[in-house]
């Protein structure tokens, strides 16, 4: 009987708290409603772009060979670490560059085409990449061995998948912006990858020549961030007018 009345009391209190949390909607007019997001807002007639080159200053660390002896099916004598990859003229590869701020509440269509993260030669391909919030990522195992795919997300839901057979695929969709989400294989410690999850299409990853281009940007003032897994982040502010292209170089030092 006592338990019954306690449960009833708990129920009544819960309902009262829930009602209070819902707020009843009586003072809606007190808070200004946020502006409705503008969908597909880029006018090709006025769109501009931001380009640049990421450079490394100093003596770059050598790319060390990766010891894969813990899994005979991984043996790849050419495999090297990819943390800091510097090319000719100090160009820095694998830098994720994106618009960090300045887009307001503009809303962009999300690509339905999945982006493929492949596990090949016991390394992730690509090593650094970007996706939009809501865009599917297809995770593929092209190896003759097992992998676990462990996404160490902080804002999004962390997950850990097992792929025990060659050709296995899983699809994952990140639901919140997060720069960056590391992927790691706990079976093969050297395997890691990073994905930048952003809510717009204005991002790029530098290739061997260290260059990037963020095109189709509406005129405005933006904060551009460049992220590197070992060297940290750099930001710059840039204002672009209609049909204008601005050069925003970044330099990281080792």
């Amino acid at each position: 009987m006592r338990i019954g009345s306690s449960i009833l009391t708990l129920f009544v209190v819960s309902v009262a708290l829930a009602a209070a949390a819902c707020g009843g909607g009586s003072d809606k007019s007190a808070t200004p409603a946020p502006a409705a997001p503008v969908t597909n807002p880029v006018d090709p007639a006025t769109a501009g772009s931001v380009t640049g080159k990421i450079s490394f200053m100093g003596t770059p660390p050598a790319q060390e060979p990766i010891k894969m002896s813990s899994d005979p099916r991984c043996m790849n004598p050419d495999a090297k670490t990819e943390a800091v990859m510097v090319g000719a003229g100090g160009s820095l590869q694998n830098v994720f560059v994106y618009v960090k701020d300045g887009l307001g509440n503009l809303k962009f269509p999300v690509p339905a085409t999945p982006l493929v993260l492949d596990q090949k030669g016991c390394q992730y391909r690509p090593h650094v990449f970007g996706v939009e919030v809501g865009q599917p990522i297809e995770i593929l195992n092209s190896d003759m061995t097992l992998h676990n795919i462990h996404a160490w997300a902080q804002t999004n839901q962390e997950f850990n998948l097992g792929q025990s057979l060659q050709g296995m695929k899983d699809t994952h969709v990140f639901t919140t912006q997060e720069v960056m989400v590391p992927f790691r294989c706990d079976v093969h410690k050297w395997m890691n990858s990073f994905v930048g999850v952003v809510a717009h299409p204005f991002f790029a990853v530098t290739g061997a020549d260290g260059t990037f281009e963020l095109k189709g940007l509406p005129p405005g003032t933006y904060t551009i961030e460049a992220w590197h897994e070992k060297l940290g982040t750099k930001t710059a502010s840039v204002t672009i007018g209609a049909k204008e292209s601005k050069d925003v170089p970044f330099t990281f030092s080792g």
């Binding site: 813990s70 899994d71 676990n148 462990h150 998948l161 097992g162 706990d186 079976v187 093969h188």
Partner: protein, 331 residues
């Protein structure tokens, strides 16, 4: 005697399991098998050998050793239930069984929940309790314990030894829990130098990880002092009691090894074999202190078995807390 040997085997297997667990954490392999209780969809015992690669080797081995230890404890509990006349010893078996099942479940959910610190720390701390329980069962079923170590005269009834050993045991356990906290929160190299701390006697700056690491070093000092006090007392007052002197000598060796391994763990940047030996040596310090403590309390326990009663399966309700006189009367 056979029961004692089996209990001893179970306790030794628990030590191996703790070492294997240490390897899992030290190599960062805890999530290399993402599912539980299956392994990549296979039933645990049919997982193909060729797939024991990389981190899976450590994690899957740990699971198989854990299953073996669980089975050994199950058999031990059943054996005690059928053959052990002392009710409290039979109960110890059931407690050990409950603890090892809980331990398995904690191990499973820490994998499924991506190694949350509180669960992983509880998993590490309960492992030590399981080791203590299997060791206690092995000890109290040993011929020496049953015979009250009587070949060297009546078991000593030394209140000071009992107290100092009990306090030492508690401090060693707390130190192990702090160590597990340091390990699972990634604070193992929060203070990167040894014996100094950032070049000073006391760290010149602080954050939560440095505080945990510092607490573990202070704990090591406390444990060492307390073990010196306990063993010193044994050497001073009970030199003629091998059942106290032997674990005391072993403790001095173990604590020396443990401090060395702790220093090497830092200086080697957590080399995984050194790190794992540090874990299992800590566990050995704990159970050796436990053995010494229980032996120091031996005079307070009732006598074990009435030979005739044992043979016929009769059970006696004797246990800790009985005086010599009462035990003698029961015997």
């Amino acid at each position: 005697m056979l029961l004692y040997l089996f209990a001893l085997l179970t306790a030794a297997s628990t030590a191996v399991l703790i070492f294997a667990g240490g390897l899992v954490t030290s190599t960062g392999s805890g999530l290399s098998v993402p599912d539980w209780p299956n392994t990549y969809g296979w039933f645990m015992f049919t997982f193909p050998l060729e797939n024991w690669v990389g981190g899976i080797f450590y994690e899957h081995s740990h699971r198989l050793i854990a299953s073996t230890v669980g089975f050994l404890i199950l058999v031990l509990t059943f054996w005690l239930w059928r053959a052990e006349p002392r009710r409290w010893v039979r109960r110890l078996g059931f407690i050990a069984l409950g603890a090892v099942i809980t331990q398995g479940v904690l191990g499973g959910i820490t994998v499924l929940w991506y190694l949350p610190d509180p669960i992983s720390i509880a998993h590490a701390s309960l492992a030590e309790i399981v080791f203590c329980l299997t060791t206690t069962i092995a000890l109290v079923t040993s011929p020496g314990w049953r015979g009250r170590y009587a070949q060297h005269g009546p078991a000593p009834d030394d209140r000071i030894l009992r107290r100092v050993a009990t306090v030492t045991l508690a401090i060693v356990y707390v130190q192990i829990v702090v160590g597990a906290t340091m390990r699972h929160t990634g604070a193992g190299l929060a203070i990167p130098d040894f014996p100094w701390m950032f070049g000073h006697l006391i760290p010149d700056h602080w954050d939560p990880k440095i505080a945990i690491h510092f607490a573990h070093r202070v704990g090591a000092l406390c444990v060492t002092i307390m073990l010196l006090a306990t063993t010193g007392h044994v050497f001073a007052y009970h030199r003629g009691r091998p059942e106290l002197v032997r674990p005391s000598i072993l403790l001095l060796i173990l604590v020396s090894a443990q401090v060395t391994l702790g220093a090497l763990t830092v200086l080697s940047h957590k080399e995984y074999v050194i790190n794992s030996f540090h874990v299992v040596t800590g566990a050995c310090v704990l159970v050796t202190t436990l053995v010494l403590t229980l032996r120091a309390h031996r005079a307070r326990f009732g006598d074990a078995v009435v030979a005739a009663g044992h043979a016929t399966g009769a059970r006696l309700a004797d246990g800790p807390g009985h005086s010599n006189a009462a035990a003698g009367a029961r015997a």
